[in-house]
């Protein structure tokens, strides 16, 4: 049924397209800087216990070598793992590695030797050599919470935009490809969702649902798909009349296959640019919701939560203000830089080579 010729030629073409886009992207210094920051944040969120936790990364204790912080990566990401069973006495809630610090024959501690939930008696202390960014109202290390807050922002950004892409691409593709009453219906739906002030819609749904990170991600995904759908619709409208789609149709290929195998790969680039900016705005929405108390709930660290604490203790602990602000700013800036460079890279009008 499928003739391999059109498929392979599309594939080769799109590969070349991505190579050209990447070559142009690399030429933009700002874009590369943004991409490096984004990759750094991804890495930090994946490996946050290696940077900040209350256990050594690597230590020799009672004659055995242990890797508590590495085990914690698995422990905090997946509930069950045979690594944890092998790890005792480390990674058990009752074991305090710091109390045993003198018994270690060798220990390599993380850069910030505090867990994000670990409470000390030093409340609201300004930055010092022990706590680089000070401590919050429960004596928790701000630097450790900042590092672990990266995980929240990365998760919210990528998962919510993943949901938005699924909805937006399917609806936009259907509207652009089929046209007619499908298009009218979906365009109307897009208009309805756009006319809602997004933040208000999200706020009302968050009151309905239990506020936690999963619901935040779902709600942001369910409300931020409109621009993706509009771009996808525009691209599908443009491409559906091209020769290769005609050829595919003449070969008797089904609509779904034409839409997702033939048109979608060639219409992905503008959608991805929107997604990059969408990630930045999702991070912002999460921080705003958490600030209002409807996002990630305490004690889980999120930049929005930390900003709220800072706002509440403005007069007695001014040092709490800057870390979350700078973190949010850098994250948003990085995604915007990547998005701009990416948009220029795929824009044929900026083409100068």
């Amino acid at each position: 049924m499928t003739d391999p010729a059109p498929t392979t030629s599309t594939k080769r073409q799109s590969q070349a397209f991505w190579r050209v886009a990447w070559r142009r992207f690399r030429r933009s210094g700002r874009g590369v800087a943004g991409l490096l920051i984004v990759l750094g944040m991804l890495l930090l969120s994946a490996l946050s216990p290696l940077v900040a936790t209350n256990q050594p990364i690597l230590c020799k204790y009672q004659g055995n070598w242990h890797f508590p912080a590495i085990v914690e990566i698995f422990q905090s990401r997946t509930a069950r793992s045979h690594w944890i069973n092998k790890a005792p006495p480390f990674n058990l809630p009752q074991f305090d590695a710091k109390a045993h610090a003198r018994e270690f024959e060798f220990a390599l501690w993380p850069l910030i030797p505090y867990h994000e939930y670990e409470q000390t008696v030093n409340f609201l202390q300004p930055p010092s050599s022990r706590h680089w960014l000070g401590t919050d109202e429960l004596g928790r290390d701000v630097a450790a919470r900042l590092v672990h807050g990266t995980t929240v922002s990365v998760k919210v950004g990528f998962v919510s935009m993943g949901i938005a892409v699924l909805i937006g691409v399917v609806l936009g593709a259907a509207a652009g490809y089929y046209g007619g009453w499908v298009d009218v219906l979906i365009s109307r739906l897009i208009e309805v969702v756009i006319c809602f002030p997004t933040f208000f819609l999200i706020l009302s749904i968050m009151i309905w649902l239990e506020p936690n990170i999963i619901n935040v991600m779902i709600v942001i995904g369910l409300t931020r798909w409109t621009s993706i759908a509009r771009y996808a619709r525009g691209e599908f409208l443009k491409i559906k009349n091209s020769d290769y789609v005609m050829a595919a149709r003449a070969l008797g290929i089904g609509h779904t296959r034409i839409m997702f195998r033939h048109i979608l790969p060639n219409s992905l680039a503008p959608v991805l640019v929107t997604v990059t900016f969408g990630i930045a705005s999702a991070i912002l929405i999460e921080a705003g919701l958490s600030w209002l108390g409807f996002g990630v709930q305490a004690p889980a660290p999120s930049w929005g939560n930390m900003l709220r604490t800072a706002y509440d203790t403005l007069r007695i602990a001014p040092h709490l203000v800057y870390p979350p602000c700078v973190a949010i700013f850098i994250a948003v800036l990085a995604y915007n830089l990547v998005g701009d460079a990416f948009r220029d890279a795929i824009d044929p009008r900026v083409h100068r080579d």
Binding site: V192, S204, W291, L292, L307, A310, I328
Partner: protein, 326 residues
């Protein structure tokens, strides 16, 4: 043009009904209702249950949701948004009227300031492309554009409001506002507006400047600009009259599309600055499950947004005679 306007207004009706239906369902399905929130303080369960039932009957919450929605629509036709389901029992229209001015004045100020600042910056930066001004303003504006308004607000409150103690940052008026002289009142308002207006406007200011610059760059490449220069027109005239006026069209659309952002984005800022505006009223009403107020604010906001996009499209046709809708 008239036919187009009428068609757009008619098309807005199903959109508005859809929006109000979704809002109505969401807010009514949220756990807890006003009667429950009001009676949860009562310790004796027998009394609280009885009061709860009476309150539900009083507010009409004991009837099915679709009946209540149709009733709400019926009242809407008469532009009656009902009575607030909070302890003050005031008509929703009155509550909104008193909150409308603080929000609208902020929005107008924010848009006005960002336009007056961004047009000269954008035009000048485009005129001297890659000059020192363009480079510096480009970097600074890019950074500013990436700072969300409320992330800028907290350090500003800390520095200007708390540590330097220069400006107030809570509410719209001082406690002793009524005792002040007319000039003192005006000065007091200006001081209260300064911080929140800056926080609301800097983002769109940065965005506009970049937008104006980009559009100017495209326009300045056009053939008619070269023609204007060849005619021997002064540089100022070429840039302003032939260049800038042709960038007005995209700006008009942007204005229409920015309206929802400014209104929707004001919730956090208004809560942060304790501002007596619509955003904070909405936030408080959602928390108190004050259904009529939530419905009214979301409906008015959605209608404003639709109006904004319609005005932008009409402005399009007005500014560019090549565009017709008929």
């Amino acid at each position: 043009m008239l036919a187009y306007t009428i068609r757009r207004v008619l098309l807005a009706v199903p959109t508005l009904i859809g929006i109000s239906l979704v809002t109505f369902v969401i807010i009514n399905l949220a756990p807890g209702d006003p009667a429950q929130l009001m009676t949860q303080q009562i310790q004796d369960p027998r009394i609280s249950n009885r009061v709860y039932e009476q309150l539900r009957e009083y507010y009409g919450l004991d009837r099915p949701i679709h009946v209540r929605y149709v009733e709400w629509l019926g009242r809407l036709v008469r532009l009656d948004f009902g009575t607030s389901m909070s302890t003050d029992n005031r008509p929703v229209m009155d509550k909104i009227k008193e909150r409308l001015w603080p929000t609208m004045s902020l929005a107008i100020l924010a848009i006005g300031i960002s336009l007056t600042l961004s047009i000269p910056i954008g035009v000048y930066a485009a005129h001297r492309q890659n000059g020192w001004f363009d480079t510096i303003s480009g970097t600074v504006l890019y950074a500013l554009y990436s700072v969300p308004s409320y992330v800028m607000a907290v350090p500003l409150i800390l520095l200007v409001g708390v540590q330097w103690n220069l400006l107030p940052f809570q509410g719209m008026k001082s406690d002793d506002y009524e005792t002040l002289s007319a000039a003192g009142k005006a000065w007091d308002l200006v001081r209260h507006y300064t911080l929140i207006t800056f926080c609301m406007s800097f983002g769109s200011w940065a965005y506009y400047s970049r937008f104006v610059r980009q559009n100017m760059l495209e326009v300045l490449k056009q053939d008619y600009i070269r023609t204007a220069r060849a005619k021997g027109l002064g540089e100022k005239r070429v840039v302003m009259k032939h260049g800038f006026f042709n960038t007005m069209i995209p700006m008009l659309t942007l204005l229409g599309l920015l309206l929802p952002d400014i209104i929707g984005g004001s919730v956090i800022l208004e809560v942060m600055f304790n501002w007596p505006g619509m955003g904070r009223l909405l936030f408080e009403s959602i928390l108190a499950r004050d259904y009529p107020t939530v419905m009214a604010i979301s409906f008015i906001t959605a209608a404003l947004v639709l109006l904004g996009t319609l005005l932008a499209d009409l402005g399009y046709a007005f500014a560019d005679p090549r565009i017709t809708y008929d």
